[in-house]
Amino acid sequence: MSADPKVFLMGEEVGEYQGAYKISKGLLEKYGPERVLDTPITEAGFAGIGVGAAYYGLRPVVEFMTFNFSMQAIDHIINSAAKSNYMSAGQISVPIVFRGPNGAAAGVGAQHSQCYASWYGACPGLKVLTPYSSEDARGLLKAAIRDPDPVVFLENELLYGESFPVTAEALDSSFCLPIGKAKIEREGKDVTITAYSKMVGYALKAAETLAKEGISAEVINLRSIRPLDRSTINNSVRKTNRLVTVEEGFPQHGVGAEICTSVIEESFGYLDAPVERIAGADVPMPYAANLERMAVPQVEDIVRAAKRACYRSVPLAAAA
């Protein structure tokens, strides 16, 4: 925002309240109410206003208090933001960022716990980013704001409370990350585990457990759902010959399905085991804590799947 006066932030409670999750803390004070705008509760309205402003070259950062609420604005994200450049034959580009927390929170039930990665990942014209660490968040958000196209930036509420080590490089004002490039968080040789957002942390924990049992897992932090870094994924699978995909969202037509297809298409001959997909249960999120835990992937699920892929445990018989 300090580098480009065209950048502004709008959304519910981003100003005086400092963000529902305090993510925009201090911004109102620093940039003033002209650039940090508290909106009424009208996602369809302000997302569309953002698009109109982007048509004329402003760089709106539109915050959804949570991405669940983006469903009320999805017409503008998909129809107005993602398709305008195409429909206008490149005359009108839409440099806008839609950001906010995505995915399952805790104890908030079906309507407030959902992952939108594969929803937006299915739309031509959108870029979809999923930061995991502080470094990701900083580097990718800067890239998103500078990008000439609409970016859906999926943060994670439960990660807001986590801290990560940050390198001096990441703190440098010139630091930025490329869109569409995955990061190998941990190198390994026996099995590839792909994950994004909060699940990267789970995958890393699973990798630690697996290491103790002699399985060396390579963990790929996707960072970008669309474009998807097929090259990094396939190179890894060609090395390890085994793949476990992890996502919090629903299994059907999910991110894992897309990754699996890419690997089947490009590296089929390298696979030594069926691809394992770990995803959320195929149900709306239950409220009860015990059911909720069963509905989202756990570290143990990843460990088990990796072992199955490495034939270290009996394959799951007829998974329900």
């Binding site: 519910e12 409670e13 005086e16 309240y17 529902a20 109410p33 002209e34 705008l37 508290d38 909106t39 009424p40 509760i41 009208t42 369809a44 309205g45 669940n68 609420f69 469903m71 009320q72 929170a105 805790a106 104890g107 908030v108 039930g109 079906a110 309507q111 407030h112 299994p251 997909r277 770990i278 995803a279 959320g280 249960a281 195929d282 149900v283 709306p284 239950p286 409220y287 009860a288 804590a289 015990n290 059911l291 069963m294 509905a295 989202v296 992937p297 756990q298 699920d301 799947a305 007829a318 998974a319 329900a320």
Partner: protein, 431 residues
């Protein structure tokens, strides 16, 4: 260009010229003429509030108002409730208040989780409206729904158990705090997204019209109440439904619980014309403003609006001016509301106001009200014990209720329906 709060503050509108209520005809609304009548001067909006600057209601009168009950008292010959009714209202409001206090306690003890939005302070609206309904009438609520559920008759045990995430809850632990449903009581949710409940409520009202006019059920006269907040009145679904409800004369009452805040967003900072009731006439339905801290006034307005709907005369928009005594949810630090404002409204506690009315009109004595409070205490102790001792939802419940017909899960690799696989009901995270 300036977006500062001061610039957003509404310029003073002409004071509403409606006649202040007179003693003989205290609560008349021109429902028939669709005239907006801010029938109460919303006592909070007088001098005291003007001091809050931004919070001054545009239609606030500058004279100092007497307390609600004082106005009503002047017509003792014409009491607004019978003793039984008065006690019923009191009991329902105490139930709502004590239930929510219990929730706060249980939340801090880790018995319930997630976002828990409490209703303290707004009881007069739920009680004033819902206690007039028949069981067949519908209520559609928001994430702040516990008390609407209770007023509609869902037993405390079931609501508490739901909040504890137990199998005996009104939604078997699947819904949670923000999603209370009870088919038996025609409580249709529990909608956590802003505005979402309004079209659904309008659809419930549509059904009644359809039953009457298409299915020839001449006696279909069910009314739907849609409850939602001030912040929600800036969402398109509100306007879309005002239009359709008026267009099709649907039997619905849109009940706005204007507690002046939407989380940390002041109503006046969010809304170009903050007088919500005025949006009724714009769509061709009556819009009424009522003091939502006075259950008797709410009830009076509610009675007419509900009867109007039942008579097939169409929808009404009612703006109840109220206040929440706690933060937006139990996770809200509540730093933006002026302590003086909070104190001011605490002084207008709707339960205290009803109590005063009952006493002053010899409708109840101290012991009777104490007995009600004691009874509710016991009801809630029982509800907590019941919830605490209830079983967690079993693992087999995980995949239930996704579809009315579980064949919706499709056919498995072996050619039979996946739901028929004995392992199916065990439910796993990777179905």
């Amino acid at each position: 260009m300036s977006f500062t709060a001061t610039k957003f503050a509404p310029s003073p509108l002409p004071l509403n010229s409606t006649i202040p209520r007179s003693n003989d005809k205290p609560l008349s609304f021109s429902f028939d003429h669709f005239k907006p009548h801010p029938s109460s001067s919303f006592l909070g909006s007088t001098r005291t509030l003007l001091r809050f600057g931004a919070l001054a209601r545009p239609h606030a009168r500058t004279r100092s108002s007497s307390p609600v009950s004082a106005v009503l008292l002047q017509q003792t010959s014409n009491l607004l409730v019978t003793k039984e009714e008065g006690l019923e209202l009191y009991e329902d409001m105490i139930l709502g208040r004590f239930f929510e206090d219990k929730c706060a306690e249980m939340y801090y003890r880790g018995k319930m989780f997630g976002f828990v939005h409490l209703y303290n302070g707004q009881e007069a609206v739920s009680t004033g409206f819902i206690k007039l309904l028949k069981k067949e009438d519908s209520v559609v609520s928001t994430y702040r729904d516990h008390v609407h559920a209770l007023s509609k008759g869902v037993p405390s045990r079931q609501v508490m158990s739901e909040l504890f995430g137990k199998a005996t809850g009104c939604c078997r632990g699947q819904g949670g705090s923000m999603h209370m449903f009870s088919k038996e009581h025609n409580l249709l949710g529990g909608f956590a997204f802003i505005g979402e409940g309004i079209p659904v409520a309008t659809g419930a009202a549509f059904t009644n019209k359809y039953k009457r006019e298409v299915l020839n059920q001449a006696d279909a006269d069910h009314v739907t109440l849609a409850f939602f907040g001030d912040g929600t009145c800036n969402n398109g679904q509100f306007f879309e439904c005002l239009n359709m409800a008026a267009l099709w004369k649907l039997p619905i009452v849109f009940v706005v619980e204007n507690n002046l805040w939407a989380i940390g967003m002041s109503h006046l900072r969010a809304t170009s014309d903050p007088q919500i009731y005025k949006k009724g006439p714009a769509f061709g339905m009556p819009g009424v403003h009522v003091d939502g801290m006075d259950v008797l006034k709410v009830r009076e307005v509610a009675k007419e609006a509900i009867q109007r709907a039942r008579r097939g005369e169409g929808p009404t928009l009612v703006e109840c001016e109220t206040y929440r005594f706690r933060g937006h949810s139990l996770a809200d630090p509540d730093e933006l509301r002026d302590p003086a404002e909070k104190e001011h409204y605490a002084g207008r506690d709707p339960i205290a106001a009803l109590k005063k009315y009952l006493f002053e009109n010899n409708l109840a004595n101290e012991q009777e009200l104490k007995a009600i409070e004691k009874k509710i205490d016991e009801v809630l102790e029982d509800a907590v014990e019941f919830a605490d001792n209830s079983p967690l939802p079993p693992r087999s419940q995980l995949l239930e209720n996704v579809f009315a017909d579980p064949k919706g899960f499709g056919i498995g690799p072996d050619g039979s329906y996946r739901c028929e696989d004995p392992k199916f009901t065990q439910g796993t995270a990777h179905v």
